[in-house]
């Protein structure tokens, strides 16, 4: 069965990288309300799209990263993430598969069983916009805080694989989703801000092509 163990390397080492390069932080679990089947956007639009802007602060003040682009989340088909700054790259997350392509080069593919993390994040988007929060509980402990229309969703990984990389994920919004913050276990913070969001029920031709790579 040694061969089997060697095959596991593929799956585990990705996440081991995260914990091997840095210091661990304690998980911030200051969020209160425990939810079960809450719906943040009751209209459950099949298609949600808009623009994103990511800023990532590197721990130890070694630098920061910024990127911009368009995104699209479909209720069942998955997610498209098109970066236009500082360089073009396309990312499509569909059922069980992550495909990435830079400047139109041959795409690289990664499967959910090799690395569950991107798909856990896809689930968060679909949970917020379309499918309700219940499915998220398979990978996360979930907390939801509401104040008038404003809401904060806090997620701390319960899946030990994700736990090795991510400390907390926080999503904030009001009548629209506003920002998503990923805090990794080494203290690096990645902040994604969303803007010009539209909710529709059907995909346009252009949107359909966004989900293909």
């Amino acid at each position: 069965m040694n061969a089997m163990l060697r095959s596991l390397l593929l799956t585990t080492c990705l996440l081991c990288f995260s914990s091997a390069f840095g210091i661990e932080l304690f998980v911030d679990e200051n969020l209160v309300t425990n939810i079960s089947d809450e719906q943040i956007f009751p209209d459950q639009s099949a298609v949600v799209s808009g623009q994103f802007e990511i800023t990532r602060e590197f721990s130890g003040h070694t630098g920061s990263m910024k990127s911009k682009g368009n995104f699209l989340v479909h209720k069942t088909l998955g997610l498209s993430w098109q970066q236009s700054f500082p360089f073009d790259s396309k990312l499509v997350l569909t059922e069980g598969k992550m495909t990435q392509s830079i400047n139109g080069a041959t795409p690289t593919v990664m499967l959910v069983k090799d690395n569950p993390m991107p798909f856990a994040i896809l689930e968060i988007f679909q949970g917020i916009f379309q499918n309700g929060l219940d499915p998220l509980s398979s990978n996360f402990n979930i907390y939801l805080q509401r104040e008038d229309a404003a809401w904060t969703l806090g997620l701390s990984p319960s899946n030990p694989m994700i736990k090795k990389a991510i400390a907390t994920i926080t999503v904030e919004g009001n009548t629209e989703i506003e920002q998503l913050t990923i805090r990794d276990i080494r203290g690096n913070v990645q902040n994604v801000r969303f803007s010009t969001i539209t909710h529709t029920q059907t995909l346009t031709k252009e949107q359909q092509s966004m989900l293909r790579l």
């Binding site: 095959s7 990705l14 899946n159 990794d184």
Partner: protein, 764 residues
């Protein structure tokens, strides 16, 4: 002699009691039973290196157990799994393989050597187009869904180490990790695979028993879960327990038969007690002496040695029938005197046959020899020393058995010696054509049938994982560590050249030879470093940090990852066994395991690279043993003939030997006619047949006066032997069955033709 024995019996008994206590105590203290088949090989048969490698692989395989547990739904499985894992952790038999931990250790080990370990694909791209690697990597770094830490990127902006570690993995389409567990759904239902290690050595019968008990506890405790498990230890345990339960089922039946037979014939239970006394004494002292000489008794010697009871009862029966049928009545010492020549010759011939085994270099056969010689001598002495006093004159004569018919005697003894010789000679010639077509079959796969339930389980696990355990390997030898690593690399390219699908597990997968590491290091210096600052600033690192990091990397001197670094790291937990340090006079060596669907012969085209096949190795042991035992058996016959020649005319000596000879030849001919390939166990059974057959013919050859008591003695002996060992023919364990079949045929034939050796007058 008579006075000595009469007056001395009390003293003998006291001595015997004391010796029995000593032997019993020392055996009870720590009866050391070995079950490892490889222990049966002569030491000079393999080089030290070969036996070390073979031992390593065997230990590795035998210490591993895999449990695959599945359920109707994922929820059912998820709700039980923690409890199950806890039960395993508390079992005291098994511990779980902590692969996560080992993986972390791996990353920690390599992260200091990230500039000299590249995947094969990256090595090529790095030469021609380093930019494309850097571009893919920076996109990965920007991917918010799979965050790569800035620390990792700054250290390795081409993400070479990450890809090297991924390339180490064998891609499995079947498995995925969830919640830190290995899941598979390829059998339809969701399942979890639990790789385990045995806490104690797998070759202990106790450990095997504990393991089987623990596994059955799991099935009882969680009836809603389906368990499959695999591992050499489980196979061994199942095989042993099946053989044991079969032997005990058959044994109880035959024991009853033997008890009834003896009490029926002698109309008393005292003879039964005497027979049991002789046999127990034989086995007790035989075990004691064997353990004293070898320090361990191999289960092989124990099982085969126990068969000598079949020979040991001959002496008892000869005495008892003579005593019960003596007309006129004789004193016990007169009886003894009458049978001493026959049983002494019987013992001597058996000792000769067994001692022939002792001079072979095979530890298993030596043990059998010592065990049998001691056991037989004890049984012989028990008759000689104790029977006259323990067996008073019987009140009634013995009953006759219908198959101990005088017609059998009449058929042989009314003919002259010459005619009898002619008849046996003709019989032998008639058997010859069948003997010519005798074919051997030593395949271990046939000798050790797999438990059908385990086969199903193993199939389930194979379907769930896509892997089956590898029992084939190459041995690589070199003048030093680096030399071995280099040779491993060339071996791997030679093998993958003829079999691209082969998966090889080697130390050099983890520790590349020094030259290769240096080459990678130079490539990194040449292709990545000049672009380093550019990519780091594109990724968003500030100037000060980038410059500092750059000069740090630039000034970094080449330092190879050493084998010892790896060996001492936890990351080598699962593979450390491959390295054979200082195997031969300071030379280094290693094992390279092969996973491939191609048969072993396919790899013979590699010429000097010899693939070792574990299953073949066992088969070779059996072949070697079969051949040696056959030769020794023939030599034994020659020696017996020589010995008998001193006492009898050559004609009569030939007749005496012809009884076991024809019995053995008939057995072999029958096997040949039914197309059964002969193996070591058949030949070992023939030794038993020879030992018993020669007794029968000697008892007749030494018979003075009426041969009727002798006929009854051998009728009793053959009936008990058939009841005990003959019934083993019903066993479904091929080795046991082989002995049973041979004993059945051989003893029946011996019984039928034994009177051929009778020399006295016959009144019919």
């Amino acid at each position: 002699m008579r006075n000595f024995m009469t007056s001395g019996t009390n003293r003998w008994l006291a001595l015997l009691a004391a010796l029995t206590v000593v032997a019993g105590l020392s055996l009870a203290d720590g009866f050391n039973i070995g079950t490892n088949l490889l222990d049966l090989l002569p030491t000079q048969h393999q080089s030290r290196l070969q036996s070390l490698a073979s031992e390593r692989v065997a230990n590795e395989q035998s210490s591993k157990v895999t449990i695959y547990v599945s359920a109707q739904t994922e929820d059912v499985l998820s709700s039980k799994i923690e409890d199950l894992e806890q039960t395993i952790d508390n079992s005291g038999v098994l511990f779980r393989n902590n692969f996560f931990h080992d993986q972390e250790a791996s990353v920690n080990l390599y992260k200091n050597f990230s500039h000299q370990f590249f995947s094969v694909a990256d090595q090529v791209i790095l030469e021609s187009d380093p930019e494309s690697l850097l571009n893919t990597s920076i996109a990965d770094f920007f991917n918010p869904f799979n965050p790569i830490s800035p620390e990792e990127y700054a250290n390795d902006p081409a993400l070479l180490l990450r890809r090297f570690m991924l390339s180490q993995a064998i891609k499995s389409d079947y498995l995925h990790i969830k919640d830190g567990r290995i899941w598979s759904e390829s059998n339809g239902n969701p399942g979890i695979l639990i790789p385990l290690n045995l806490i104690n050595a797998a070759y202990s019968l106790d450990v095997q028993k504990q393991l089987i008990e623990f596994l059955s506890v799991l099935r009882v405790k969680w009836p809603e879960l389906q368990f499959s498990y695999t591992g050499l230890a489980i196979h061994a345990a199942k095989g042993a327990s099946r053989a044991q339960s079969e032997i005990s089922t058959i044994g109880v039946g035959s024991l009853l038969g033997i008890i009834l037979l003896i009490t029926y014939v002698f109309r008393s239970t005292r003879p039964l007690v005497l027979v049991v006394f002789s046999i127990s004494l034989g086995i007790l002292f035989a075990s004691f002496v064997t353990e004293l000489v070898f320090g361990v008794i191999h289960v092989f010697a124990l099982v085969f040695g126990a068969c000598l009871t079949g020979v040991a009862v001959d002496y008892s029966f000869h005495y008892l029938t003579k005593q019960h049928l003596a007309i006129p009545r004789k004193t016990p010492h007169e009886i003894l005197r009458a049978i001493v020549p026959a049983i002494t010759l019987g013992l001597l011939t058996s000792v000769i046959a067994y001692l022939a085994l002792a001079v072979t270099p095979f530890p298993g056969l030596q043990q059998v020899a010592i065990f049998s010689v001691t056991g037989l001598s004890c049984a012989f002495l028990s008759v000689l020393l104790f029977y006259p006093d323990l067996s008073p004159e019987p009140a009634q004569p013995a009953r006759h058995l219908f198959w101990a018919h005088s017609a059998l005697l009449g058929f042989w003894v009314k003919r002259s010696l010459q005619v009898r010789l002619l008849m046996t000679g003709t019989a032998f010639l008639a058997l010859l054509p069948a003997l010519v077509f005798l074919a051997p079959d030593d395949s271990i796969r046939k000798l050790q049938p797999l438990d059908p339930e385990l086969v199903v389980m193993e199939d389930t696990i194979r379907k769930a994982t896509g892997f089956s355990p590898s029992l084939r390997y190459f041995i690589v030898e070199g003048s030093n560590q680096d030399d071995v690593l280099q040779k491993e690399r060339s071996l791997i390219s030679a093998v993958t050249a003829i079999e691209p699908d082969a998966i090889l597990h080697s130390v050099s997968n983890y520790v590349r030879p020094r030259a290769e590491q240096l080459q990678s290091y130079s490539l990194y210096q040449k292709q990545i470093l000049p672009r380093y600052q550019d990519y780091l600033s594109r990724a968003g690192f500030n100037q000060a940090y980038t410059d500092a990091k750059y000069s740090e990397l630039q000034s970094e001197a080449f330092r190879p990852l050493l084998l010892d670094d790896w060996i001492n790291s936890q990351s080598s937990n699962n593979w450390r066994f491959l390295w054979l340090e200082n195997a031969m006079n300071g030379r280094s060596a290693s094992i390279v395991l092969l996973d491939s669907r191609k048969p072993t012969e396919y790899f013979s085209q590699l010429k000097e690279l010899k693939l070792v096949d574990k299953a073949d190795e066992y088969t070779k042991i059996f072949t070697l043993y079969r051949e040696r035992v056959s030769v020794m058996l023939l030599i034994g016959y020659a020696l017996i003939f020589l010995l008998l020649h001193f006492r009898y005319s050559w004609r009569k000596a030939l007749l005496v030997v012809s009884v076991p000879g024809i019995a053995a030849a008939t057995t072999l001919a029958a096997l040949s006619i039914f197309g059964i390939g002969i193996n070591m166990f058949h030949i070992l059974a023939l030794i038993l047949v020879t030992g018993i057959g020669i007794d029968y013919s000697l008892f007749f050859a030494e018979s003075r006066g009426s041969p009727t008591p002798t006929l009854l003695a051998i009728a009793m002996s053959s009936a008990t032997t058939l009841l005990s060992f003959g019934l083993l023919a019903l066993s479904s364990t091929p080795a046991v069955q082989a002995i049973g079949v041979c004993v059945c045929i051989g003893i029946t034939v011996s019984y039928l033709i034994a009177p051929v050796a009778y020399a006295g007058e016959v009144r019919t």
